[in-house]
């Protein structure tokens, strides 16, 4: 079994962005140690791609933003975390894309702009 096939198998273990435990268990049975290692790597990667992490400056904001974000990232698992460093606003991490809506980032950008 080659890498491409293992990657395909890992992809089939997800339904609407959520990992299907039964499918994972069933597939894992037929893989040797090396293949299993690669299978786990791909599961992790796909899971990462299917997860959106939202950092908020205050946990109270969670209910406010939840609905809007869900509409923007359909079929993705959403995790909300608190980060006081943001001062105000939010930061959204969608796999390798980071969207900054925080005061901290605005201030940093302003400092860079003035320095340059």
């Amino acid at each position: 079994m080659n890498t491409k096939l293992i990657k395909k198998l890992a992809g089939h273990c997800f339904k609407n962005g959520i990992m299907d435990e039964a499918k994972v268990q069933k597939t894992a049975k037929y893989l040797n140690k090396k293949q299993l290692k690669e299978f786990i790597k791909f599961l992790r990667l796909i899971d990462k791609k299917n997860t959106v992490t939202i950092f908020v400056s205050d946990k109270k904001m969670e209910e406010l933003i939840d609905k809007k974000i869900k509409d923007s990232f359909r079929n993705k698992k959403i995790i909300v975390k608190e980060d006081k460093d943001l001062i105000a606003g939010i930061r959204i991490e969608d796999y390798d894309n980071i969207y900054e809506y925080s005061l901290e980032s605005s201030i940093n950008n302003m400092i860079n702009h003035i320095n340059n």
Binding site: Y95, D96, I98, E100, S105, N109, H113
Partner: protein, 507 residues
């Protein structure tokens, strides 16, 4: 000293241009670091050739885009990048800051000064990779680029906008010719009639001591003030060696866009090809002939295509490229030499045997050619060069046959003697480029038979002293010749008289 009001006004002005849009960053994670080549996951929006920044502020360039990962070459020697480190795209293609202030500087391919001067902050950002000017923007090569070397200006003339390859084994005087050519451009900066030529010397994979010698030599000859040296020495990472010629041509393009003429020397492209092979092998690209990657031809063709002569509508600037290639045992048919020969508009081939037999510059006239330079040669040199080339060819034929027989008729013996004198006249010491008028005088002496009665060993001394005599006593004749026009009958008679006069004094 600025008042508080002024300081606040400056800050306010800066804030006016501040754009507080949502910042979107594309990030990735380092998976592997192998000899300066990083494999990172993520970076799904990255572009080929885009600059990236690591957590420790190191810079890199993307060279491979795979399904789940990208390969990045590091632009510095930082070995502390490890698995798990973050990296993010910058949205910028690799560029170099250029302005006139770079003249007389020694920099690395990223524009960092190596001579203790301050880094250039102002200037124009020039991308390292750029598509060469198209057919519509160009015009044929029509202006000579004088090297100051008799053999080259007469037999293998170079025009502004041409790509002329300098090729030969190690230690045959390839770099010396390039340096002489740079030194000779000084007269274009002093003369009012000629357009000045700015020079760029790109040292690729050379020893630091050799680069220092070149810089010192240029400084001594007063050539550094119109020259920029880009140095990627042997101890620099392969990525810098790979980028060096592209940085050079980007700087050249800056001057060319301003309508100026530029001469760029790539010393040498063999080491450039080695650096690219090293990078490609680490990137696991399929290896081809001599383990070079499949796009090794494109590597050099896209670089040398940027040498150009723009038409008047586009400013009339030009970039003349002198790439250097080192051969092994005079083998012109190796992979990289044949590639570059086919890309360029001609080549100057240096032979080890000629070099050690005392013929310097050791140019092999038979294998050297300039495909477009003839159109740029002045009528002055043209009037003597054709005859000289023919006589040299006849001499080479006769010399081969005369080895078999001892008795030769008078005509053949004379022809052989004339050929020997011509070769003697074409010898020229290093770092002693000549003006066009003096080059003409030397070649004319040989082709018109003025030195037939001299002994072979006196030829060079006669030539040098005759030059001094002419400069001293007949400077008007020299000025007249320097116009580049074909000499008329009167002028030739005048020259004959000067030779007779000089011979009376010559001992």
């Amino acid at each position: 000293m600025k008042t508080s009001d002024e300081i606040l006004k400056i800050l306010e002005k800066k804030l006016e241009t501040f754009d507080n849009r949502v910042s979107v960053r594309n990030t990735g994670i380092v998976e592997k670091n192998t000899d300066g080549v990083i494999v990172a996951s993520g970076l799904s929006n990255a572009q080929m050739g885009e600059q990236v920044e690591f957590d420790n502020k190191s810079q890199g360039v993307i060279l491979n885009l795979d399904e789940d990962s990208v390969s990045i070459i590091l632009l510095d020697n930082s070995s502390d990048i490890k698995q798990g480190d973050g990296v993010q795209t910058t949205g910028k293609l690799l560029s170099i800051n250029v302005s006139e202030e770079l003249l007389s500087c020694v920099i690395n391919p990223l524009g960092t000064p190596l001579d203790g001067k301050n880094k250039l902050n102002k200037g124009k950002l020039m991308p390292l990779e750029k598509i060469a000017a198209g057919v519509i923007e160009r015009e044929p090569v029509n202006t000579p680029l004088k090297t100051g070397i008799k053999a080259i200006d007469a037999m293998i003339p170079i025009g502004r906008g041409q790509r002329e390859l300098i090729i030969g084994d190690r230690g045959t005087g390839k770099t010396a010719i390039a340096i002489d050519t740079i030194i000779n451009q000084r007269q274009t900066h002093l003369s009012k009639n000629e357009k000045p030529v700015y020079c760029i010397y790109v040292a690729i994979g050379q020893k630091q001591s050799t680069i220092a010698q070149v810089v010192e030599r240029l400084k001594e000859a007063g050539a550094l003030e119109y020259t920029i040296v880009i140095a990627a020495s042997a101890s620099d990472p392969a990525s810098l060696l790979y980028l060096a010629p592209y940085a050079g041509v980007s700087i050249a393009e800056y001057f060319m866009e301003k309508g100026k003429d530029v001469l760029i020397v790539y010393d040498d492209l063999t080491k450039h090809a080695w650096a690219y092979r090293q990078i490609s092998l680490i990137l696991r690209r399929p290896a081809g002939r001599e383990a070079y990657p499949g796009d090794i031809f494109y590597l050099h063709s896209r670089l040398l295509e940027r040498a150009v002569k723009l038409n008047k509508k586009n400013g009339g600037g030009s970039i003349t490229a002198l790439p250097i290639i080192e051969t092994q045992a005079n083998d012109l048919s190796a992979y990289i030499p044949t590639n570059v020969i086919s890309i360029t508009d001609g080549q100057i081939f240096f032979l080890t045997d000629l070099f050690y037999s005392g013929i310097r510059p050791a140019i092999d006239a038979g294998n050297s050619v300039s495909r477009v330079g003839g159109a740029a040669q002045t009528s002055l040199i043209k009037s003597v060069a054709g005859k000289m080339r023919l006589e040299l060819a006849q001499y080479n034929n006769l010399a081969a046959f005369s080895q078999f027989g001892s008795e030769l008729d008078e005509a053949t013996a004379n022809q052989l003697e004339r050929g020997r004198k011509t070769i003697e006249i074409l010898k020229q010491p290093q770092y002693k480029p000549l003006s066009e008028s003096l080059e003409f005088l030397s070649i004319w002496l040989a082709t018109s038979g003025q030195i037939d009665d001299l002994k072979l060993e006196d030829t060079q001394r006669f030539e040098t002293e005759y030059h001094d005599f002419m400069k001293r006593k007949y400077s008007k004749v020299i000025d007249e010749l320097s116009k580049g026009e074909k000499p008329n009958e009167d002028m030739l008679k005048k020259l004959e008289k000067t030779v007779i006069e000089f011979k009376k004094m010559f001992k």
